[in-house]
């Protein structure tokens, strides 16, 4: 076999894999969504429960992204700009949600706030409901997406070092100004990248949310859970129609991701020069 045949056969093999494993599933969703025509499709995506589920998904995603970005900004600062004991251990702890099944992520909140949970008595006296209600869904989503932003920022800020910040601090700049004028410009693409990944995961989170949701239609149903119900009730077209909303969002996220990655690489090259 000469170099050219190897090259062509590898490209064909790789492309076939992508088409069969990734492209066909994506197109299946769109084809099945429109199978019974535009009217059925638009009826499914403007259904009252779909809209409510979409709103809950957007609210959950927004809160998870805001809270995890807040955490990411502070934790990466603490981990990369200072020396202290147990730094490696702390970094490992932050990564734990990645190593844990989403089902377990949901389970732990039942063990805290559920009927058998140790915090149940406090919730009862305060008349609060967390599990099988919206706060539980938000908490489970935050748990699952917890490391996304900080994981992107830590290696980036580590590579950057802290000389510039030290110089600025010695010259009397305030912490906020150092962050805004020195650190942020270096990490902005990485930060955006982390936010995009976090958004994607939060939008689609299923296992963890499924455990704590209780599946109350119109109340604690997120979009992925709504799709599950429609699919299990054999409303195939409706399930795929609702899925297509998430597919469009996923494609948008992929495009954004590629733009941000490209810009980030460009900025990195300019820094080197």
């Amino acid at each position: 076999m000469n170099a050219k045949t190897t090259k062509i056969s590898l490209i064909v093999l790789g492309t076939l894999f992508i088409i069969i494993m990734l492209v066909i599933p994506l197109f299946t969703v769109l084809v099945y969504a429109l199978k019974q025509g535009w009217e059925v499709f638009s009826k499914a995506i403007t259904d009252e429960y779909t809209i409510k589920a979409l709103n809950l998904t957007l609210l959950t995603t927004f809160l998870a992204v805001v809270i995890n970005t807040f955490f990411g900004l502070f934790s990466s600062w603490a981990i990369t700009k200072f020396r202290f004991r147990g730094k490696q251990f702390l970094t490992t702890l932050i990564d734990i949600p990645f190593a844990i099944s989403p089902v377990i992520a949901g389970l732990v909140f039942i063990l805290v706030f559920g009927r058998i949970g140790w915090a149940n008595d406090i919730l009862q006296t305060l008349h609060l409901k967390i599990v099988f209600a919206v706060p539980g869904i938000i908490l489970a989503t935050i748990f699952v997406t917890f490391p996304f932003v900080s994981r992107e920022l830590i290696p980036l800020m580590h590579a950057q070092g802290s000389d510039e910040e030290e110089a600025a601090a010695l010259m009397g700049a305030t912490g906020f100004n150092i962050y805004r004028k020195i650190t942020l410009p270096h990490i902005k693409w990485g930060l955006l990248y982390g936010i995009i990944l976090c958004t994607a995961r939060a939008l689609g989170e299923f296992g963890a949310v499924s455990v704590v949701s209780g599946h109350l239609r119109g109340k604690t149903n997120t979009l992925p859970l709504h799709i599950e119900i429609l699919f299990n009730e054999f409303h195939l077209t409706a399930a795929f129609a609702v899925s297509s909303i998430l597919v469009v969002l996923a494609i948008l996220i992929l495009i954004l991701r590629n733009i941000v990655e490209y810009k980030g690489k460009k900025a990195e090259n300019e820094n080197v020069r």
């Binding site: 490209i11 494993m21 099945y32 981990i79 190593a99 377990i104």
Partner: protein, 280 residues
Amino acid sequence: MTRFSLKRKKNKVIPGFGLSMGITISMLSLIVMIPLLSILLALSGTSFNQIIASVTDSQVVATYKVSLICSLIAAIVNCVFGVILAWILTRYQFPCRRILDGFIELPFALPTAVAGIALTTIYSDTGWIGGLFNKIGVEISYTTVGITIALIFIGIPFVVRSIQPVLEKLDSQYEEAAMMLGASRSKIFFKVVFPEILPALLTGFGLAFARGIGEYGSVVFIAGNIPYKTQITPLIIMSKLEQFDYGGATAIALVMIIFSFVILFSINILQSKVNKAAKG
């Protein structure tokens, strides 16, 4: 002593240590650590024998087998195709390369439930691909083959994205030198390139494997949840929860957590051995 005081000084130059560390520790504790430790708290009420009984129940043991075997096969398949994909994306120029590259991340962006129902439909006996296999008597949806396919879908970006940066940075002068000395291309790949990407491949393998064991959304639809046959461990935790068997669910969850930590830990050890061997 001087060294120690220097360190202290360095810490003090940049502001915000107390604030950022305080926020980090308290959020980590509230959102991750305290809920996780509740697993141990919840199990402290149950006797040791009871825990052992629920995690060694024959139906539960069958789920470990399904989960481990399917994730292992999926991770191996992903290693093969992951190397091919990373190779063609970094070494060759061809039309649609950038689009192909962008598609790799689709499993991260596409919600798992959507992937799950799409794969189930494609591979069911009336679906586009499942229909073809049905003619030769092979069923995919609602079998372990279907579970493996879903896990391949979910794991592929981990492997490709682990190897790709290493291949990009790999200096081609060694390959050229080997070529000049008359080595065959397959020999160059296995003797020169492969040892370089092996640590990254192991990382990708470990991530895909661990993710596969925990995966729920994309598998739950295609698995069919037949006890002893296509029930995966996350699914049995779910059904225990639906039957309000919190003790059983928690005990199995602990076993799963131990599984994933053992996998990630052994991958780390293997990696450091490979790195040592590479350094000679």
